[in-house]
Amino acid sequence: MSIFLVLEERSGRVSKASWEALAAALKLGAAQDVTAVAIGAQTEALAAEAAAKNVGKVVRVEHPLLARYSADGFLLALEQVVRREEPKCVVFPHSYQVRDYAPALACRMGQVLIGDVIAIDEGPIFTRQLLQGRLTGTYRHRGDGPCFVSVQAGAFRTDSNALERQGGAAAIERFTPEIDAAQIRTKPGEPFREAAQTVDLGSAQRIVGVGRGIKEQENLKLVEALAETLGAELAASRPICDNGWLPMERQVGSSGQTVAPKLYLAVGISGAIQHLVGMKGSQCIVAINKDPDAPIFEVADYGIVGDLFEVIPAVTEAVKAAK
């Protein structure tokens, strides 16, 4: 009854989200039952990193055609190794890459991925968010085959000793999948960034984040005035940047920047997880929103429930008065 942990690489190392997935895997079974899977064209370094963690063994799934990620390549390789080892569960970090292939992998095995999981309880019962974080739902796997699970970034802690290995490194095995170049139908290009970033939100001490609640571009001047008074950088949730009201480089969240300032003031931001993952590590979070049930209040230290068009000018004035 083994548990697969599919590792993901980030700049040549195992990603932090992969270790969070290990923490989740350890909720589903004992460390000696966890098989860490390193997949790629050259996986030696990843495998060595994994072998130093609290896992039963490591499998290197290697093939030259896996050098750059493609859904077809990863699907073929992982399907073969899953069919050979027949794990009870397969755990992934819920990354953009995993979202691209894991649903199809589960489907190929007649299964359904339980994606973006935030908690695992006895059962196992999996909790995930619904309606952009306004509610949560608990799920159970009913199929006979392996249970595929991906876990949300930041939901499982990696600072526990349980992840660290006592004693020598875990055994490392190799598996060479059969892949033909013709089976890979997509041609993925080299990752790139758009124009160089000119705003470094990551080093800002104070940030005012603005969301849909601001309603119109015209109204941005209210938050600009607040940011200026606070000596804060202005940031936004995705919809504001999608509308072109602020440049993409001011976007905080899974597709933008991750920030952890001393003060994060969320204005008219409901708090969908895509935004929360980018700012919930802030030291002090203030939320201003008209909806008392908005998920942003779950991570806020201070909250004001009210009309931001009244509250924001009042806060700006109060900051000025206190100077």
Partner: protein, 256 residues
Amino acid sequence: MKIVVAIKQVPDRDAPVRIAPDARWIEERDLQWAMNEPDAYALEEALQLKERYGGEVVVLSAGPERVGSTIREALAKGADRAIHVVCDDLNARDALGAAKLLAAAIKPENPDLVLTGLQSEDVGLGQTGVIVAELLGLPHATLILHVDKTDAGLKVKRELEEGWFQEIELPLPAVLTIQSGGNKLRYATLMGIKKAKTKELRSINAAELGSDSAPVVALEKIAAPKKQKTTQILSGSAKEAATTLVEKLKTEARVL
């Protein structure tokens, strides 16, 4: 290019949601509904592709009768015709069950391209497009912001994490899931709304698609989220709350 766009009707973002008495889903009575926003971007991409390369845009939506209003909105924005897979139990289906319905409806259409949003704003599984591709045996790409046609098929711009992007080339037919923000959404014109009434809207009963199977994954219970922090809600008038906030940020949190 013949394009099928799969769209979902979801609770309106600003509509208050209440947990149903059996705690298995939300109370749907008196709820306002809207087109899932990522699907609106998928529709926009389809309409723009048609404007650039010609062809046909067919919208497809599964759900109960109320879904008709969202389908008509898509027709008013410029889709040529629509297919409504009538099913009252969409919520009881898992991602595979829902994708099977859509794939069965798409297959006889033989489209060049299938587009859908990257995820729904209600259950947020983010799996439908990928599973539909798998069921139809088509290549796919996800989180797409821009689509160009090439001699060999498509060249698309895919969003990666933390501000990175990637171009992917893939042959047609293919399935793409569209990320929001790649285009500006259009509004339906008065003329569009008028025209929509004359456009073909075909209903198929889910049962006719013969794709019923017991769900592998079941949503058992919904609840309000657990609080991660104790939030001090500051009450009073805007001015009072603002004054208290600034004081607390200074003396309690010490961040000012």
